[in-house]
Symmetry: D5
Subunit: 147 residues, 10 copies
C-alpha cells in the first residue's frame, strides 16, 4: 500500500467516526501539529505510535504499517499551490522571505533556520475585529561551516 | 528611480554607516520586521516615515520618494528559491503546508489565513543545544463567503 | 469518493434529467453562480444543502457526502487555460490586470480585492449588435496592515 | 522609444504633478479604465487623444508618439503574478473560471466572452462591514461557427 | 464516457470500416474540416448531426451523446508539439507570426483575427516539383473597442 | 549590429516616413508577406535586395548589412504569445491542429507540410457582417522516408 | 490498442524469443535503424511489412494493426532526457548545434537538414583505445523559399 | 571580456574579411568542425592556436585570450531551439533517440556514447534529387561500471 | 512487468523479511551502494546476480527478469527534488558545483568527471558533536578531445 | 558593487597573475575548496580573510568589501546545468540519489545530510587506466524532530 492510499483511508476513517484532529492528537503522545503531519504522510511513527492510531481509528494492518515507513516528503502539493489557503503561505514567502532572511542573519549570524530540527504550532486567537491565526515556527539555527 | 535601485542604495547606506536593522527600526515608529520589509521594497511608507529614514540613512530625495510609492510586491526572489535560508521556508510549506491547512480549517472553519492583514516576528531563542529561531506569523482569518 | 468523480456524477445526473443550472439553483437557497461553484467542487455545502441537491438530482450518498467536504480549490484547470472561453479571462488579466490594480489602489488605498470574501454574477445583456456578457465581481477591500 | 520607457515617463509625470487617474481621465474623452489602460501601454490613442494627454502631463513628443503606436499587449506581468492584488484576479480564474464558463454556455449558447470587444469598470462600494470593490466586465458574446 | 474515449471509439470504427474522412464528411451536412474537428472532440454536434454519424459509423449511444456535449477545447496536444506535422504549424507561428500580425493591423486596423468565428480548409495542390498543401484560414476581424 | 536593433531602426524609419508595408513591398521585388518577414529579421535578403530597401527607407549601411545575414529564426516572440492577435494563431493550432494533421495524412499520405519550402499570404475579405481575414499557407508536402 | 502497449508487447516478444534487433531486421526488408524505429512506434509499416513482423515475433493481430497506423511521433521521451545515453545526444545539440548550423549554411546555403527525408545508421567501430560508436545522419537539404 | 562578446567580434571579423569557415580551418591545425566550435566559444584553444587565429582574423588581444579560457559550455541556445535548423536536430532526438539507444546497447553493451571523447563532421553529398547533408558523429563507448 | 513494479515488490519483500540493505549486499558479490542501485532499478544485474537476489528475497521470476533488463535511468525523482534528503544533494550542486568544476579543471585539465565509469560510497562517521555522513564519489576523468 | 562583478574581477586578477587556486588557497588559512567557494561568491570571508586575499590578488577595496558580505547563494548556475562538467553531478543525483537516501536512512536513521554543516574535497587519483576524481562530501547528520 502506498502512502497516499493510506492517507485517504485515514481521512475516511476520521470522517466516518466524526473525529477531530484535536481528539486524535489527544489519543496520541504528540502535539496536534506533529500527529496530523504523520497521518498525512509527512512524518514517521514508531510501531507503537502507529498501533495506537490503528486501534483508535480502526485502520487496516497495511495502513498501520504504512505509517511506520519513512515517507518521501513534500510530494503532496504542486507549486505554486492553487488552493487559496496554501497559496497565502507561499505568498508570505514571496513577499516577506527576504525580510526573514535579513533578520535571521542579523540576530543569529550567517546560517539558516533548520526545516529538519523544526516544529510548529497553529492556534486561533480570538479578536473582536475578526479572529486571527497564530502560526509559530521554531527551528534550530544552523551556522555555515568554514573549513 | 526604480525600487530595486532604491533598495541597493539603502543597503549600501546601512553598510557604510555600520547600522543594524535593529538600530534602524528603533529610529522608526514600527517593528523591526515591518521596517525591513518596507526598506527592502515590499511595503510602503508615508512621506513622514520615509523622511525619517532618509535623514537617518542620508538617502537621496529620489530614494525617499521611492519608499512612498506602492511597490509591485513579490518580485525579488525566484521560486523555488536557491538560497538555503529561503529554501527552508519553501520546504516547510511543501512538507507542513497540508497540516497547517487542516488545522486552520478545523480550528476556525472554512477560510484562510490572510497574507494582507498579516504581521510576523523573528526572534532568537537561546538554547544550550543550539540556539533556535522563533518565527511567528499572525494573520486574520478570512471565512469564505456564500451568496 | 474523490471530488472529481463526484463532479462527474453530478454532471451526468444533470444531463440525464435535462436540467439547467438555473433550475438547479432555483431548488437551492443560493445564487446560480455559487451553486454551480459548489457542484463543480470549488465550494462546500452544509449537510442540508447537499441533501437538497442529492434529492433533486438523485445522487448517491457518497456524492452527497463529497459535497460537504472542504475541497482543495483551484485544481480543475491547467494554466494557461487551453479552452478559448477560459483563456479569454486569463487574457483579460494579462492585458487589463495592471489597470485594475492601479484603479483599486487609487480608489480604495493600498490593499487588494479579496478572492475569499468575494462573489460574482454572470448575466446576458441583449444587444442588437450582438448579445453581451456582463460578469460582475464583488470583493471586499483588504487594506495592508502596518505593525 | 519603446513602450515601457514611455509608461515610466508617464508615471513619473503623474507623480510629479500630483495627479490622480481620475483627473487624467476627466481631461480625456474616455472612461477612467480605458485611459489608464492606454497610458500603461495596453491600448492605442489617436494622435489627437495622445496630444491632449501630452499637453496635460507635459510629455515629450517621443512619448506622445509611443501612445499612438499599437502595442504588443500582455507583456507587462509575469504569470502567475506575484503581486497579491494581481494574484487574487488569477485565483478567481482558477477557482471560479469553470463556473463562469458553464453559465456563459447555458445562458448564451456555445461561444465565448470576447476579450477584444470588451470593456470593464472598477468602482468602490462603501459598506459598513468594510468597503468593497465592484469589478464589472462587459464583453460581446461570440458564438462558435459551424461550416 | 469522457470525450477522449469517445474519440478513440470513433477512430476505431473508422478504421474497422475502412472509411476515409472524406467519405464521412460526405455523409454529414458539413465540410470535411469541421466534421473531423467535431469527431476529434473539438466542436459540438446537434443531436441530429450526431445521430447521423452514429448510424454511419455504428457508434454506441454513449459516444453519440458525447458528440453533443460542449467539449473543453484545446486539451489534446501538448505544447510545443512533438509530432513533426504539428510542430511545423507551431514553427510557422514562431517565424511568421509577427509578419501576420503586422499585415492584419495594416490592412484591417487595430484588431485581431477571430479563432471563434473562424473556419479553415486543407487542400492538396498537385505540383510536378512535389505536391503542396494549401491551408486556408478564414476568421472574422474583431476590432478593439474603446470606451 | 544585432538583428533586433536593425529591426527597430527599420520600424522607426517606416514610421518617420509614414510608409505602409504595402508601399515598401511594391518597391521590392517580392510579395508583401515575404518582405515584411525579411525586414522583421526572419528571412535574408541578397545585397541587391537589401540595398534597394536601404535606399528607400534611408537605412544605415550597418542595417543594410544586417539584412543580408542569415538570422537565427523564431526568437522574437515568447510562447505562448501574450498578444491577443498572436495568441489566436496559437489557439488555432491547439484546437484545430489535430484536424489539419488528419487531413494532410489522408489527402497526401504519411508526411508533413514543410515550413521551409513554404509561403503565405494575408488578405482582407470585405463582408457586410464584418470583414474577414483570409490567411493562406502554402507548403510543400514532404513524405517520410523509409530506408 | 494504443501504440505504447503494442511497443511493450513487441519488446516482451523479443525478450521471450531471445532475438536481437539485428536478427529482426534481417527478417524484414529494411535497415536495422528503420525497423527498430517502426517497432518502437515512431514509423509506420505497410500491412505486408507488419504481417512479416507479426509472424516472426508471434504478435497478436491488434499489435500488427497498430504497426500499420501512423503514430503521433516524438511522445516517448521527456526533454531533457534523464537517461545518460539519451542525454549525451541532447548535450551534443547544446554544445555542437551552433557549429553544425554554421557548417550547413556555409556548405549548402540558407536552408536546413530535413528530419523527414532523413535516415541514420549506428555502427560499432573497434578501437584498441576503447571501441567507438559511429552515428551517421543523412538528411535532405531543404533551401528556404522566397516568394 | 566575456566569451559571447569575443564570439561576436570573431563573427564580425569573418564577415568583414569575407572569409569562410573552410578558409579559417585551413589556416588552423584542426578540422573545420572543431575550429568553428572553438571560435563559437564551445571549445578551448592553446595560446599558439589562438595566436594563429588572432593574426589571421586580426583579433584584439582580449579576444585571443578569451579563446584560451575554458568556456562554460552549452549556454548559447535555448531549448527547445526555435531556429528551424537547430530544431530539426532536436526533433531527430525526440523521434529517433530511443532507436539509437537500443542499437548502442545491442551492439556495444550497457553503456553510452561519450559526448566528451567525441568528434563530428558535416559534409555535403550531391544528389540529383536534392543535395543531402551527412552528419557523422563519432564518440567513444563508455561502459557502465559495476563495483 | 515494468521496472517500478519490480522495485515495489523488492521493497515489500525487504520489509516483510526485515532485512537491511547491508544484509542484502553481503549476500550479493557487490558493494552496498551498487546493489541498492540495481535493486532500485538504476543498474542491471546478470542472470546469476539476479537469481541470487531472487532466492534471498523470494522474488517472482518476473521480478528477477526485470533486474536483468537495462533500465531507463534517472526517471525516479522529479527535479528539483521535494524530499529534504534529496534536496540537500541538489543544493550542494547549486552552491558548490562551480567550485568543484574549477578544481577539476585545475587539477586534471579540461575535461569532466564521468558519471558512467563512476562509483560511490556512503559511510557513517561517528562524531561527539553529532554523527556525520561521508559520501565519496569516484569517477574517471574524461578529457575533451580535439580533432 | 554586486557579487558577480566582484567574482569577475577576482577571476581576471587570477588570470593576469597566472595564479592557481592551489596557490591562492596556500596564502589563505582555509582549504582549497572553501577558498574557491568564497571567491566565487558562495561563502563569506571575515574582513581579515578578505584583506589577505585583497593584497595577494591586488583587488579593489570594493571587491574586498563584497567578499565580506553574506551572499545570496545558489544563483550562479541554471538548472539543469548545460555545462557537461556540472551536468554529470546533476545526473549522479538523478541516478544515484535514491540509493544515497536509502543508505543514509539505514545507517543513521530518519534524517538528512546537512548542506550547511558541510564540507567537501576534490582530489586527483592517478590511475594507469585513466586518472580519477575523488569527490568527498562530509555533512552532519540531522535527525528529524518529533514534538
Amino acid at each position: 500500500m502506498n502512502r497516499k492510499e493510506a492517507t485517504q483511508q485515514i481521512l475516511d476513517a476520521k470522517f466516518a467516526k466524526g473525529l477531530t484532529w484535536g481528539e486524535i492528537a489527544k489519543e496520541s503522545e504528540h502535539s496536534e501539529s506533529w500527529v496530523v503531519t504523520a497521518l498525512l504522510g509527512q512524518a514517521t511513527m514508531t510501531r507503537n505510535e502507529a498501533d495506537k492510531m490503528g486501534k483508535f481509528l480502526e485502520l487496516d494492518e497495511q495502513v498501520v504499517q504504512a505509517l511506520t515507513q519513512i515517507p518521501h516528503r513534500g510530494d503532496v502539493i504542486d507549486m505554486p499551490p492553487t488552493d487559496p489557503g496554501l497559496y497565502r503561505l507561499y505568498e508570505m514567502l514571496l513577499v516577506y522571505g527576504p525580510t526573514i532572511r535579513e533578520l535571521v542573519l542579523e540576530k543569529l549570524g550567517e546560517g539558516i533556520m533548520s526545516a529538519i530540527d523544526f516544529q510548529f504550532d497553529v492556534q486561533k486567537q480570538e479578536d473582536p475585529n475578526g479572529d486571527r491565526i497564530i502560526l509559530t515556527m521554531n527551528g534550530k539555527f544552523l551556522p555555515y561551516r568554514k573549513w
